[in-house]
């Protein structure tokens, strides 16, 4: 991990020898926050998290403390941890699970105590074999240590934590699809309302769904107080956050930096070592495949959820992909479109049919067999999926996978229309 102006929080133990073992965790201050938390009334923990203004790190950026406060007052309550990370170019939870599983477990038990959950399920993307092994091994150790299970550290609080494997489906990262999957069914998103997890979640019970990175922040927040977290960053974007940097940079990787005080340029040039082979940034994707792209003129924008939102895109899953001046934008947009087409669960017509259509048209253009009318056709079909093609998108589908489909193609069309036309007119790609 690279040093940031603010010391890292969730990745602070990465790189220590065997950081994933209980011994290493305890040697480095592990599970002291949990002891402290169990001596506090549960409401006080929620209050600290509200003060910290910790925003969800899974993609939607909703305040964690507020989410906990919205639980329908009924029992039982469940905690579900979203470790399904599959948004293209996002690879931070994968790293957190493999390198510091105890930190997540500590965060999970703190959260379960705060919301009064007796059982928590950590849904780990099926493909993450090593992460599942490390997490299960850590959990076994945590039980033996008394940090999970019956009467945690003699406090009278009891919680069972389960590592649950997924089986390969992007859509299961969507929280209601994840719940369906956890119930042993196909991962079909549920209609909201009424199926907001806080009201009707797992087995119909009120449920908190939080991302792995979100919960991994809790031990630090309990240790240092919500105000210390809120002192980092600016506005609503508090604390530090992991950004997954990929694409044409010299040093791709995960970098935990202070939010709002760091810019895209800092991340790409300082941390990422700049664009490879001395080339220039042609465009970059600021928040995962679902987000609208930015050009080099936006490099000095702050990594601030609201600033990026106002500029017409999102920080989303914290995945930044850099494309250099030799990149074929038609091909890049096509590949992202192919992804959505493949991962659409098929419940909603505009998403299922629309994604198939635009993928075919994009492929045709990319292969040099496109027609000029295809550009209008693309816009027309996309407008049917997310009417108005605005940001944030209008939603006519059950979940936001559908409305995310236009981002890549519309970015390409708005920023690089010429390149589409060259493909069409010359029947070939200018970049070979």
């Amino acid at each position: 991990m690279t040093v940031t102006n603010a010391a890292p929080i969730v990745t602070r133990r990465h790189g220590l020898p065997e950081a994933w073992t209980l011994k290493s965790y305890l040697d480095n201050g592990g599970y002291t926050s949990l002891r402290r938390a169990l001596a506090m009334p549960p409401e006080q923990i929620t209050q600290e998290v509200l003060t910290s203004n910790l925003l969800g790190r899974g993609g939607a950026g909703f305040e964690a403390g507020r989410k906990w406060g919205m639980l329908r007052k009924a029992q039982p309550v469940y905690l579900v941890v979203n470790g399904d990370e599959s948004e293209p170019a996002t690879f931070k939870d994968h790293m957190l699970l493999e390198n510091d599983p105890h930190q997540l477990i500590e965060g999970v038990v703190i959260c379960a105590y705060a919301i009064g959950a007796a059982q928590a399920f950590i849904y780990v993307r099926g493909e993450f074999a090593l992460a599942q092994e490390r997490l299960q091994a850590a959990l076994n150790e945590a039980y033996q240590h008394g940090a999970v299970g019956e009467d945690v550290f003699g406090s009278g609080f009891t919680v069972d934590v389960v590592v649950h494997p997924g089986a390969g489906a992007y859509i299961c990262g969507e929280e209601t699809a994840l719940i369906e999957s956890l119930e042993g069914k196909r991962g079909f998103p549920r209609i909201k309302p009424p199926y907001f997890p806080a009201a009707i979640g797992l087995y119909g019970a009120p449920t908190v769904v939080n991302n792995v990175e979100t919960l991994s922040n809790l031990p630090w927040i309990v240790e240092n107080g919500g105000a210390a977290f809120a002192a980092l960053g600016q506005g609503r974007s508090t604390g530090t956050r992991i950004f997954s940097l990929s694409g044409h940079v010299n040093r791709p990787g995960n970098y935990e930096v202070e939010m709002a005080k760091t810019t895209f340029r800092d991340l790409i040039e300082h941390y990422g070592g700049g664009v490879r082979n001395g080339r220039q940034v042609k465009a970059f994707i600021p928040g995962g495949a679902s987000s609208y792209w930015f050009g080099p003129e936006s490099l000095d924008m702050a990594l601030d959820q609201d600033v990026v939102g106002k500029a017409g895109s999102m920080l989303g899953s914290g995945a930044i992909t850099v494309m250099d001046d030799q990149t074929c934008m038609v091909r890049a947009a096509w590949r992202i479109t192919k992804f959505f087409n493949r991962e659409s669960c098929g419940q909603c017509t505009p998403c299922r049919e629309g994604s198939g259509w635009v993928e075919k048209v994009m492929r045709r253009i990319e292969e040099g067999a496109g027609r000029e009318e295809d550009l209008d056709l693309l816009v027309d079909v996309l407008d049917n999926i997310a009417p108005g093609l605005s940001w944030p998108p209008q939603q006519t589908t059950i979940c936001v996978l559908g409305p995310s489909i236009p981002s890549a193609i519309m970015s390409g069309l708005r920023m690089f229309r010429d390149e589409f036309l060259v493909h069409i007119k010359e029947g070939a790609c200018p970049y070979g």
């Binding site: 406060g69 019956e150 494997p165 119930e183 991962g187 009201a199 679902s290 590949r335 006519t396």
Partner: protein
């Protein structure tokens, strides 16, 4: 093949962990796939019996997920990512090289049953693009030469420890002694906690959110639901927990992009 005695026991242990047996379905299917390398009809039928489901329900769920195979696969499932970060770093060139070397297209298996090749979506190792996984063990920054070496090592068995046969996912079992008395004790504890809750409301009393704005109604028509790709049922909702009316007032903009 039906599950062997040891795997039946593992399945029973899993069922005991969850509040509802069906939640154990996917974990048990992974066990079946570990046993045979893929999901045979006999295994799915057996899993259905263990969970009190129909074979159709088991198959219907299994077929939704990319990692679960209802057809035979090679001993080594080679999954090459071509999504955006890998595309920018030669993912397609690597895939092409793999096709030529193995002599199969994505989805195909080599005649000796050693390798099945797949083109996959992002596998969350994009910092090391182009990357691939073999039986879900990850390899990053893979050059063509690396790929050839890897195939050799897989063939010779040099990587047997790091890359177990296809279907073997998590080799670390839940420690059943962690709860005094094993899993049944875990259940007992859960029931004890649930009983306590039934008596007194749970300690959730953080400040109520200021009356939240209801999310904007979808413009135009209601969500178009098409069910030709399988059963879509309203989420199961036990009678004791029916609260749709209250739910409608709860705002959780969880996923509304902002």
């Amino acid at each position: 093949m039906r599950l062997n005695a040891e795997n039946v026991q593992r399945a029973r242990d899993l069922i005991a962990i969850y509040p509802r047996p069906r939640s154990a379905l996917i974990p048990i299917l992974h066990i079946a796939q570990e046993q045979d390398g893929w999901l045979t009809e006999d295994a799915m039928e057996h899993v259905a019996e263990l969970l009190g489901l129909t074979s159709a329900e088991v198959y219907g769920t299994a077929s939704f997920y990319d990692m679960l195979f209802t057809e035979p696969v090679g001993r080594h499932l080679v999954s090459i990512c071509t999504n955006i970060a890998c595309l920018l770093n030669g993912g397609y060139e690597l895939l092409e090289h793999a096709e030529e070397t193995l002599g199969v297209k994505p989805g195909g298996t080599t005649p000796d049953g050693e390798f099945t090749l797949e083109e996959v979506e992002c596998i969350a190792d994009c910092g090391r693009a182009p990357c691939l996984a073999v039986n879900w063990r990850f390899f990053g920054n893979v050059t063509n030469d690396d790929f050839d070496t890897l195939l050799g090592d897989l063939r010779s068995g040099a990587l047997r420890e790091t890359v177990p046969p296809h279907g073997t996912l998590n080799r670390v079992r839940r420690d059943l002694t962690a709860w005094a008395g094993g899993v049944p004790a875990a259940q007992a504890a859960r029931q004890q906690v649930e009983a306590k809750w039934a008596a007194a409301p749970p300690p959730v009393s953080s400040p109520a959110p200021a009356t939240p704005p209801t999310p904007p109604p979808p413009p135009g028509q209601a969500p178009a639901i098409k069910d030709d790709r399988g059963e879509r049922q309203p989420a199961s909702q036990p009678a004791s927990e029916q609260a749709a009316d209250q739910a409608a007032t709860v705002e959780d903009k969880g996923d509304t992009a902002k």
